[in-house]
């Protein structure tokens, strides 16, 4: 177990270093000269040169990368071109809103996806199963902004059940969370369905039936927990897909989170912000995968043996 832990943590660290390398290289492709950015438009050539030296931009590449890593390690993501503030502060200010939306959305997609997938599996090859699976496919194929605008139009604008965008009370989170939840739920439904079908074949299910256990007990004690196991690992991977969805959904619903920050940064070509958000979400994905991998052996002791 300890070996597994250490191996996974080292792997995660290596991935983080790789990510920092790639973003560092992208920084070099930036059309803007960072020294010029800091010195300002009116600065003379010598002043720019001085800033370049101060910032260490004249050092060899590997030393610059070292400094870049050092900055990242202390949480320094650079300054926004447009807003003249630290990117890390901008992201930190927006983080709670995004986390709140993400949590609600993950809850939504798990509740929808797992239950629908399980029902389809228990009734497989019936009309209901085919309908549910087609629905799941349709949601997986729907552009996020289309579903977002549809829900917004029907439930907020037309029926008036929910506020038209914005942030605040619980009713504000329902539509954006549902948008992300339905789209991701389609994906989970398909996975859950095949997972339950896989478990249904196992000997222990037959034994449980032969013992004369009640149907509810077989389903909720023997089948569902085993079927959910392989899906837990997916939640970690899912964070990456979520980050994409969040940029779109937050811009549709005017949700003041990291996604909206990114969207605004795109409009103003504010690279440090886009870069910072990319780095932060890459870290979140690595962390999510690590947590999922660490949780897996706690839930399923068989994994410890590997």
């Amino acid at each position: 177990m300890a070996g597994y832990l250490i191996r996974r943590i080292i792997q995660a660290l290596m991935t983080l270093i790789g990510i920092s390398l790639i973003t560092f290289l992208i920084l070099f492709m930036l059309p803007a000269d960072p020294a010029r950015q800091v010195a300002g438009r009116t600065a003379s050539a010598e002043q720019v040169e001085q800033v370049r030296q101060q910032m260490g931009l004249d050092l060899p590449l590997w030393q610059q990368y070292g400094r870049y890593l050092g900055k990242l390690a202390t949480g320094d993501l650079g300054r926004s071109y447009e807003q003249r503030t630290q990117v890390s502060e901008l992201i930190a200010a927006r983080l709670p809103a995004t986390l709140w939306l993400m949590l609600a959305a993950i809850a939504c997609e798990l509740i929808i996806g797992l239950s629908v997938g399980a029902i389809a599996a228990f009734r497989r090859n019936t009309q209901a199963d085919r309908l549910v699976m087609f629905g799941a496919f349709a949601f997986v194929s729907t552009p996020q902004f289309l579903l977002g605008y549809t829900l917004l139009y029907v439930f907020a604008f037309w029926l008036g059940w929910f506020p038209i965008g914005g942030y605040g009370s619980f009713s504000h989170v329902v539509l954006p969370a549902l948008t992300l939840g339905l789209l991701g739920g389609g994906w989970y439904a398909r996975m859950m369905r095949s997972s339950v079908i896989e478990v249904l074949r196992q000997d222990f299910v037959r034994t449980a039936r032969a013992k004369g256990l009640s149907r509810a007990r077989i389903i909720f004690v023997h089948i569902v927990p085993n079927a959910i196991l392989p899906i837990i690992a997916m939640i970690g991977i899912d964070i990456g897909i979520f980050m994409s969805g969040i940029v779109v959904v937050e811009s549709v619903f005017g949700w003041p989170g990291i996604g909206q920050l990114t969207w605004q940064a795109i409009q103003k070509v504010d690279f440090p912000i886009i870069m910072g958000v990319t780095l932060v979400s890459a870290c979140a994905i690595v962390l999510g995968n690590l947590l999922a991998d660490l949780a897996a052996p706690l839930i399923d002791p068989r994994i410890r043996l590997k």
Binding site: I26, S141, G240
Partner: protein, 275 residues
């Protein structure tokens, strides 16, 4: 044989028909569209009428003409970006899977690294960096879309390379290109066809999302994604300007997903009976 099997599945057939309609619209756009998609002959946001079947957009351009021309950008980007992504993914997967060793592990570590990047954000970064044109958008989408396929191809190549017949041809002294092209790649074709089809759904949605965010296809060239972007401010009074191009993208992605799913059933005998 495969086509016959697809035609027997109602949903896949439906997908095929929808794609055929969209592709025809894209190819024949200049002849089918009633107006020039970039000029404004009407009022702005006029509702559908006899002169403008789908009404006009916020700049007074005929919406139907823009929709028909938009099929071009959306389909070209979806298909070409996916083609490039399949090529990259296959190349990396086969190379890493056949060579194994240090080269293989470096390639696969790189693939894992790419998996940790949120694809959309990386694409946003690259698109913002490279000043978007249609071909830049294609390259950006291709660069972030090859990753999963590379993993699948890698796993299959590893298991194929260990099969006895491959060991046997190698023992006879067959050259590496011959082994790869005659004995390994042909066995990967079913996987590539399935992933290639499903992939178009993903890359088309990607184009739509990038264009929706304003960093994909640049106006005045219409694409279904940027049509939503252009008209969203007015969506409460003219919702069709958002819903029609959005639905077109959804239908396109759904069609490719349905066909890909049917192909997986048809081409992969190991999955048969599992569903």
């Amino acid at each position: 044989m495969v086509l016959g099997a697809i035609l027997k599945r109602k949903l896949a057939l439906l997908g095929l028909i929808i794609i055929a309609v969209f592709a025809t619209a894209a190819i024949l756009a200049p002849w089918l569209a009633p107006y020039d998609p970039t000029v404004s002959p009407g009022d702005f946001a006029a509702p559908p009428s006899a002169t403008f079947w789908l009404g006009t957009d916020l700049l007074g351009r005929d919406f139907l003409s823009r929709l028909i021309h938009g099929a071009r950008a959306t389909l070209i980007i979806g298909v070409v970006a996916n083609g490039i992504a399949v090529a990259i993914g296959t190349f990396i997967g086969v190379t890493a899977g056949y060579l194994r060793g240090r080269v293989g592990s470096i390639l696969m570590r790189f693939t894992d690294l790419m998996m940790a990047f949120p694809a959309l954000l990386l694409a946003i970064l690259l698109a913002a960096l490279l000043k978007p044109s249609i071909w830049i958008v294609v390259m950006v989408i291709a660069m972030v879309s090859w990753v999963q396929l590379a993993r699948v191809v890698y796993a299959e190549t590893v298991s194929l390379a260990e099969r006895e017949y491959v060991v046997a041809v190698r023992a006879i002294g067959a050259s590496t290109p011959r082994i790869l092209f005659r004995h390994i790649l042909p066995h990967l074709i079913p996987t590539l066809i399935v992933w290639g089809t499903l992939g178009i759904a993903t890359t088309s949605l990607f184009e739509a999302t990038l264009s929706f965010l304003g960093i994909g296809v640049q106006p005045p060239t219409p694409s279904w994604g940027n049509m939503v972007n252009e008209n969203q401010t007015y969506f409460e009074s003219a919702p069709w300007l958002v819903f029609i191009p959005g639905a077109a993208i959804g239908l396109l992605a759904l069609s490719f997903n349905l066909i890909g799913d049917a192909l997986r059933d048809i081409l992969d005998p190991t999955l048969r009976g599992r569903h």
